[in-house]
Amino acid sequence: MIQHLLDGILVGSILSLGAIGLTMVMHILRFANFSHAELLSIGAYVALVFDKMFKVTMPLMANEIGPLSMTWALILSIIVSMVFTAASAVLFDRLVFRRVREKGEELSMVFASFGLSLIVRNLIGLIFGLSTKLYSKDIVFATVLSRDPLLVVKLDQLATFTITLVLMLVIHIVLSRTTFGYSLRAVGENPELAQVNGINLQRTLIVVWIIGGGLAAVAGVFYGLNNQINPMIGRDLVLPVFAATIVGGIGSVYGALLGGIIVGLASNLALSILPSGYSPSVPFIIILAVLLIRPNGLFGEARA
């Protein structure tokens, strides 16, 4: 039981990272972006490529950090991958979403995001192959925290969790202490009024895509590190990440943080009552439960 709780929080924090960008985009552009989870996939694969490259070109970087299976090469790759993924998020907006918006077909954005996710997911499959990949082939042993009750944790998980917490803190500071944080909230509340007050909508939007893409890259790499990398990451994570945004309330960054952890916890606890074959359905059950109990989520506001 406590083991499930622990795993749930660790997995959930990864979902939180993925959900932050999604909830911001859904708040400002008002559409369910089904291609967001593909950014996690892009992030995982870009890091895989650069990880291999750094390990070959700089053998020193291939050393593991302390007891972790993570290497300095991977840490550096994560940073490169954040840049790449953020750039692809901006590029997708330029190529697809902005054009659809400008045509006045705002409801069609959902369709466009689905089409885009099909393209991205299957291009990844065509480029990298359909088989699963790993950052490190070494077997990682779990560390026993206590024997009664038996509690084990992988040190990698703890490291990813720590980095996730640090990133969340950074996001919190940016949102609550900077001008950008204020303008972001203003745009979310009322885009027209925000523009009247001299906020550049396009620029704010680009920053939102950059933040969303960067965090999605980290989430993708951490997911790949704790599980495995395959082209279906996006397909498998799209519903859990949406569930996290709905639990937290669409538009709420703190809601997304908490929502991710709740979805992670619920999915892990569900495994102790449901057969594991049903785990893909758990996020949907969570969404239904939220819609029944608290339709606008924990921190969301009713909005037409």
Binding site: S108, F114, Y278, S281, R303, A304
Partner: protein, 315 residues
């Protein structure tokens, strides 16, 4: 010759069944502006419902009520309708992304349930034990398929007529009024939530009809038939044909199904052997490209919606 002819019959049957589903989506998306991300769940509910109600008893799952075929088909449509009502009642009052996400989720959960619950739908092996109706008198050959095609075409025509009448009726005007300006419609005393729910359930029942016919055609349905791919195909059909236009919906269904089967055939025929594993991926990229390019290049589709101004006092 008979080979080509029977292939044409086969192709037309599947395309017409899909066209019925596209018509159902057109009522939801084209006329009412409701995004259904889980078309395949309602299609699948119709297929599973029909085969469960009309099939023969099986030892390992609950199938086999051996109902008279038309009643089984109507039962399958009812299953799709109930599922739509449940999803709709929870989500239609919220902003539209909730419907998109919930319907997408319902499709994932439906496929997941059918794959795992062996007592219900036979699990991953699929649902067996269904006999195609009138098989004793018509046999399994070309004659049967030809008569089945006629039945499917009649269903397609019936659905088309029904929707054309519905859309030009006062109810159809309400749908467009809500789609265009919900507040204005409400100020005129209309109830958007109820009208949306009616349109959503009706569209899903039509998808259930398509699913029921599909299941009957193959006398078999498995989780492989209810993958999200089908949802994407049906959307592509509607977007290419023209959302809001029933003729466009049918045209899109035939065009996209022809393109899909042709690309599948061409890839399996001409692609090198080592690339065969990836034909699925290539086809998905193509369908994604079709959706995105249509939205960018011609969002109104090949046959756009004819916008009518209804004004009282004008003849």
């Amino acid at each position: 010759m008979i080979g080509i002819l029977s292939y044409i019959v086969f192709f037309t049957t599947v395309a017409s069944i899909l066209a019925i589903a596209v018509l159902g989506l057109n009522l939801q998306w084209g006329n009412t502006g409701l995004f259904n991300g889980g078309v395949v769940a309602f299609f699948g509910a119709g297929a599973y419902g029909t085969l469960l109600l009309g099939g023969t008893p099986q030892p390992d799952h609950i199938a086999g009520f051996e109902l008279f075929y038309p009643i089984a088909l109507i039962g399958g449509m009812a299953v799709a309708g109930i599922l739509a009502w449940l999803v709709g009642i929870l989500t239609l009052k919220m902003r539209h992304d909730y419907l998109a996400i919930s319907t997408f989720g319902v499709a994932v959960a439906f496929e997941n349930l059918m794959r795992n619950a062996e007592w219900l739908g036979g699990g991953a092996k699929g649902l067996r034990g269904f006999e195609r109706p009138f098989r004793e008198s018509l046999g399994d050959g070309f004659l049967y398929n030809l008569i089945f095609l006629i039945v499917v075409l009649l269903c397609l025509l019936g659905t088309y007529r029904f929707l054309e009448t519905l859309v030009s009726s006062p109810f159809g005007r309400q749908l467009r009024a809500i789609r265009e300006d919900e507040k204005a419609a409400r100020s005129l005393g209309k109830s958007p939530a109820r009208i949306r729910l009616t349109a959503f359930v009706t569209g899903s029942v039509i998808m259930g009809l398509a699913g029921g016919l599909y299941g009957t055609f193959y006398a078999f349905v498995s989780p492989q038939d209810v993958l999200p791919t089908l949802t994407f195909q049906i959307w592509a059909m509607l977007i290419v044909g023209g959302a809001g236009n029933n003729k466009g919906a049918v045209l899109g269904a035939f065009l996209i199904w022809a393109a899909w089967t042709f690309s599948g055939w061409a890839l399996s025929r001409f692609a090198p052997v080592e690339a065969q594993l990836y034909t699925g991926s290539i086809q998905y990229v193509l369908i994604g490209l079709v959706i995105v390019t249509m939205l960018l290049w011609r969002p109104q589709g090949l046959l756009p919606e004819r916008l009518v101004v209804s004004q009282s006092g004008l003849s």
